[in-house]
């Protein structure tokens, strides 16, 4: 058996700028008839710059960086959602990711139905989901609302349900993006326990967060990202120190 690993070698990621340029006839006509001073040129966004990184089995890695530094881009690249524009990416192991928790709910369907939908999205079988259903409902603490449509839920309830579903199965590689910090204090405690348990099952964890205390308690290694480039890689304490120095310095 080959052990699980994540390996990036000189990885670049560009977002195609054409995707957000407006190309409608209306805007074309408007720009020909109105004299504009100077249009700001939109070029491709260089989201990740020359990142080389090796994560071995058993490592718990924390990602630090300002908003927009490239933490989420890096996680989604590892998950295989974004195509890299240069370098080499090698990931071995089954990936479980928790990115945007509220995405992918069907508002008109009940909570129970949504457990099924989301489970299927994650590649589970209907049988397996049925087994896990009660446990998920109990953990999410939704009560009798589970048979009401999702659109009647409060934001916190939605996040709790999504979290409960997504964390009900373990994988080899766990990618988390800012998910801790959802829900009330009571749920936070439960969530932390759940994640700790998941981390024990999974072989690799990569966590992006701004919450130093959870980073300290969950991770051993820290990586600091700034403007798409990796500026620090080392122990978690040193990484936090480096990040705090960056915040103070700039």
């Amino acid at each position: 058996m080959i052990s699980n690993f994540i390996s990036l070698h000189k990885v670049d990621l560009h977002y195609a700028a054409v995707a957000f340029k407006e190309r409608s006839l209306k805007s074309f006509l408007a720009s020909t008839f109105t004299r504009k001073k100077k249009s700001t040129a939109i070029s491709d966004i260089h989201a990740l710059k020359d990142i080389s990184l090796n994560i071995q089995q058993g490592e718990r890695v924390g990602l630090l960086g300002h908003n927009g530094a490239g933490k989420s881009s890096l996680l989604k690249t590892i998950a295989g959602l974004y195509p890299i524009s240069g370098g080499k990416l090698n990931v071995h192991g089954q990936i479980r990711s928790l990115f945007d928790l509220s995405l992918g709910f069907e508002p008109d369907a009940t909570g129970r139905e949504n457990i099924l939908y989301r489970g299927l999205l994650l590649g589970l079988t209907p049988k397996f989901i049925k087994q896990k259903e009660e446990e998920i409902i109990k953990f999410a603490d939704i009560g009798e609302f589970i048979d009401y449509p999702i659109k009647t839920y409060s934001a916190g309830m939605q996040v709790r349900l999504a979290f409960a579903i997504s964390t009900s199965v373990g994988g080899d590689i766990l990618l988390l993006d800012e998910v801790i910090g959802a829900g009330d204090a009571n749920f936070m405690g439960k969530a932390r326990d759940r994640i700790t348990a998941l981390i024990k099952q999974s072989k690799i964890l990569v966590l992006a967060s701004h919450d130093f205390s959870s980073l300290r308690s969950l991770c051993t290694r820290g990586i600091v990202i700034q403007k798409g480039a990796m500026v620090f890689d080392g122990g978690i304490e040193d990484a936090i120190g480096k990040y705090q120095a960056m915040q103070g310095g700039v």
């Binding site: 977002y15 195609a16 995707a19 998950a79 295989g80 959602l81 974004y82 195509p83 990711s97 990115f99 945007d100 995405l103 992918g104 069907e106 008109d108 369907a109 099924l116 939908y117 299927l120 999205l121 994650l122 590649g123 589970l124 079988t125 209907p126």
Partner: protein, 260 residues
Amino acid sequence: MYNYLEGIWDARYFWTHLALSDLRSRWRRSFFGIFWSFLQPLGMTLLISFVFSRLFHTDITRYAPYILSGILMWDFLIFNIAGGALSFVQADAYIRQYKHPLAIYTLRNIITGLIVLVMGMIGLVLWVLVVMPENFGLCWIAVLLVFPILVLMVWPLATLMAYIGTRFRDLAPALTLIMQAFWFASPVYFEAKMFREGGLSKLVDYNPIYHLLQIVRAPLLQGEWPTLENYSFCIATGVLFFILTAWVGLTAEKRVIFYL
């Protein structure tokens, strides 16, 4: 390629669920529900054949099933091809979260469309049995082949439209127009002999839509086996679309997420 198809198979619970939930939500809170799949084409057929049979001086009882078969197939094509252009855009919440092969999001429409088509076909068969019972025979088995052929022809094309339609959002409205043009140029409601009499035989002989329709019409409406030409034309078109889509997908598949 093999891995890709394997990924589609692995996600089978997910896309069958999507297709069924589409059907459910389509008929949610409606009294007739799924029976609209019968009623809608039947009603349309009655309306159209009433007018056309007078216009063209044809026998309404024989002409109506012809129209019905045209409506059923055409609805399937429009739903999948014109609707396919936006199928990735509609599935963006899923695409952003989990890496499934994108072709499952067009397959979802194909499955929904096939279920509606089968319902309508049952109506067509019953109608023909009453009006033209003399056509019934062994050759009716041939009609069943239309379903795999439809999948082969339409699934790759819908996926191709989805790749392009995600990047160029003008495609979806443009396709409605293009499909309308194909409708006029094909014997969907009009009889093939009208095209031939008008000196437009080529629009029939080289038209995959005609051959596709013949697979249903030859057995049910004429009591004959479809010709080998009908089948080979459809399969060749399907293979062509498949190769084209696979080629475009090589680069487009990964980049779709940027354009959502």
